[in-house]
């Protein structure tokens, strides 16, 4: 079977075309570095089925970060290359096109974003370009699917270029200039409203105000949508479900099965947070407490990503992030990490050096709780008063900054400057927004629910054999003397390795004061990543890097926990 590889500069629409070719949805966003790993799918070429690979974007075949390394490497697997090109930016894109064609691999060029080129008064002589490059050239619009059918049709006969031969770098640049001059005509561009908005959002003072407004709006939108979904959709659903669950409880009668499925009743009633049964807590926590906020968060994130605002925010944040040993693009792992730390950890690949990636990954895992955990923190701590929730997040923010300042000093290595393309502002496409949100929500359901079930099952089993009481006794000195928490909180920390959202829920039956809860949930965020994130971090940082990161985490957790205890509880 042939392998088709999608190659192109960052943010030109490769992943969009991949989805069109294969019917497999992958994440697309309006910033460079959305795709940091390969995605694989299948398609039908005129001469039979083929494997398709979506690569990260790269400006040249000489990589400058791990995401680009992946792209340069994957080219070796290609029987056919689809070189996706941004028609609004032909000249810059052609360098990679030439480099690719020089390899002598059969190829076709997709002139993507053809719709935008039209709007911007950019005309490209397609037939002329095809003649000069010596491979098929097809205008496409990844968003609508225009041109995809023709692209597929012409891939069957794709051959190595008949006109492009290996050349020196200087020759290549000269050729890029010559080809662009011959095939492209640009009508005079006027300063548009979008240009003005872009400049305002990138200048220091106006940009800061816009950033504060955007972040506040995003936060309020997540809360408002999340609370709305809970009040109007999920709680009414569970109100309908409760009689059924109670019925099941009666039918089962007391016994081990009741313990596992329904859990223990509190005052003869199901308590959805504390009962700890698979069919009670196991359903309620993920669906009625977490899912609404996951939906809300990913909807808002998707809009932020697709408008193209994030690279502007990265520019504004650069001065600050530089002090922490990263550069402005370090804000991407933070944003993605708030959804789930796993994509957050992967997104560190957009940073150039090991030092930057180590710091970005360590800080994220220290101080960025994922949405599932945040939802539980609000759910558990919110009823005591919002200021307790604020304490948690303020502490985490201080930890992020303090650890960054220190790590920047002590971690050896370089910290290159920001170098970043700002994409044009685009209005998010409604269908694309809904699809992307759904994709991520489905991912959450697929991964979170099994783990939550497993966690609850494990907790029940380990309690019944007495293991958890033993564990609590062993860690009692640290918990009680150092952190001022009940010994049972150690169990929550253990479960936190499996799923932190569940672990937060497990703090409820311990009957702690709100101050103790603040300490416990903060510790739970800092002390160690969950297993899913751990696996990715281990791969991204290597065993030694992970060991160092873990050292930072445990140390920070103990220091911060002790400090919080002194401030909030005293001795």
């Amino acid at each position: 079977m042939k392998t088709v590889v999608l190659m192109g500069n960052p943010n030109v629409g490769k992943s969009g075309i991949f989805s069109r070719l294969t019917g497999t949805r992958v994440i697309t966003s309006n910033y460079a570095g959305t795709t940091v790993d390969v995605s694989r799918g299948k398609m039908h070429l005129p001469d039979g089925p083929a494997a398709v690979i979506d690569a990260p974007g790269t400006y040249s075949l000489t990589p400058t970060n791990p995401a680009e390394e992946v792209a340069a490497e994957i080219l070796g697997e290609a029987d056919v290359v689809v070189n996706v090109v941004d028609s609004t930016n032909l000249e810059r894109n052609l360098y990679l096109t030439l480099e690719t064609l020089e390899r002598g691999v059969p190829a076709a060029v997709a002139l993507n974003l053809w719709d935008e080129a039209g709007h911007q008064g950019i005309a490209i002589d397609v037939a002329g370009l095809e003649r000069l490059l010596g491979v098929p050239v097809v205008p496409t619009v990844g968003l609508s699917g225009q041109g995809i059918r023709e692209l597929v049709g012409r891939l069957g006969g794709a051959r190595p270029s008949a006109t492009i031969r290996p050349m020196s770098e200087e020759e290549r640049w000269a050729t890029v200039g010559r080809i662009t001059g011959e095939v492209q005509t640009i009508a005079h561009r006027h300063h548009t409203l979008a240009d003005r908005l872009s400049e305002a959002s990138i200048r220091p003072i106006s940009g800061l105000f816009i950033a504060l407004a955007v972040i506040a709006a995003a936060f309020l939108a997540v809360r408002w949508i999340g609370e709305g979904l809970i009040a109007y959709v999920f709680e009414p659903l569970f109100d309908l479900y409760t009689p059924i669950a109670m019925r099941a409880s009666d039918l089962l009668g007391p016994g081990i099965l009741h313990e596992i499925l329904i859990g223990h009743l509190i005052d003869g009633e199901i308590d959805y947070v504390q009962s700890m049964g698979l069919l009670t807590t196991g359903l309620f926590v993920p669906f009625a407490m977490i899912l609404p906020y996951i939906v809300a968060f990913y909807l808002v994130l998707s809009i932020l990503e697709d408008t193209g605002y994030l690279p502007r925010l990265a520019t504004l944040a650069d001065t600050f992030f530089h002090r922490l040993g990263m550069h402005g693009y370090g804000i991407i792992p933070v944003f993605l990490g708030f959804g789930c730390n796993v994509p957050g950890a992967l997104a560190t690949r957009v940073l150039e050096t090991k030092k930057q990636r180590f710091i970005a990954a360590t800080l994220m895992s220290l101080a960025i709780p994922c949405m599932a955990q945040i939802a539980m923190i609000f759910g558990v701590l919110g009823p005591f008063g919002l200021h307790y929730v604020v304490m948690v997040f303020a502490t985490l923010a201080v930890v992020y900054v303090a650890a960054g300042l220190i790590l920047n000093r002590v971690v050896p290595g370089e910290c290159p400057e920001i170098f970043l393309e700002i994409p044009p502002y685009r209005a998010p496409d409604l269908r694309a927004t809904v699809m992307k949100t759904w994709m991520r929500v489905r991912g959450f359901i697929g991964e979170a629910i099994p783990y939550l079930f497993l966690g609850i099952l494990l907790v029940n089993l380990l309690y019944s054999v007495g293991f958890l009481d033993l564990l609590a006794a062993v860690f009692a000195p640290v918990m009680e003397a150092w952190l001022g928490l009940p010994a049972g909180a150690a169990v929550a920390l253990l479960v936190g390795f499996l799923r932190k959202d569940l672990a937060v829920g497990m703090l409820v039956p311990l009957g702690m004061s709100p101050e103790q809860l603040v300490i416990a949930v903060t510790m739970l965020t800092i002390y160690f990543p969950c297993v899913a994130t751990f696996v990715v971090l281990l791969r991204e940082l290597g065993a030694r890097g992970m060991l160092a990161a873990a050292g930072v985490m445990v140390t920070a957790a103990l220091l911060v926990g002790g400090a919080l205890r002194m401030v909030l509880i005293g001795f």
Binding site: W173, T315, L316, D318
Partner: protein, 77 residues
């Protein structure tokens, strides 16, 4: 008159003359669209050692000051 990009005030226009640096650095700039002979406009320069944003061919690019100091620009005196 030749100046480095770093010395240009926001709003200034100029023509990119050459780069000071190794081939890898030059390639990095060129492949993102910052090439000799192009017209460049300085959009902003962030305070406290922050980055600069320039516009070339209708596209904005953010770059650090160290890099900006190695881009030589021809500006009308």
């Amino acid at each position: 008159m030749e100046k480095t990009l770093l010395d240009l005030e926001p709003g200034t226009q100029g023509t990119i003359a050459r780069f000071i640096g190794n081939p890898g650095f030059v390639r990095k700039l060129r492949t993102i669209g910052i090439r000799e002979g192009k017209t460049l406009t300085v959009v902003t320069r962030h305070p406290l050692g922050g980055p600069m944003v320039i516009e070339v061919d209708g596209r904005e690019v953010t770059l650090g000051r160290g890099m900006a100091g190695r881009v030589v620009v021809d500006v009308a005196a």
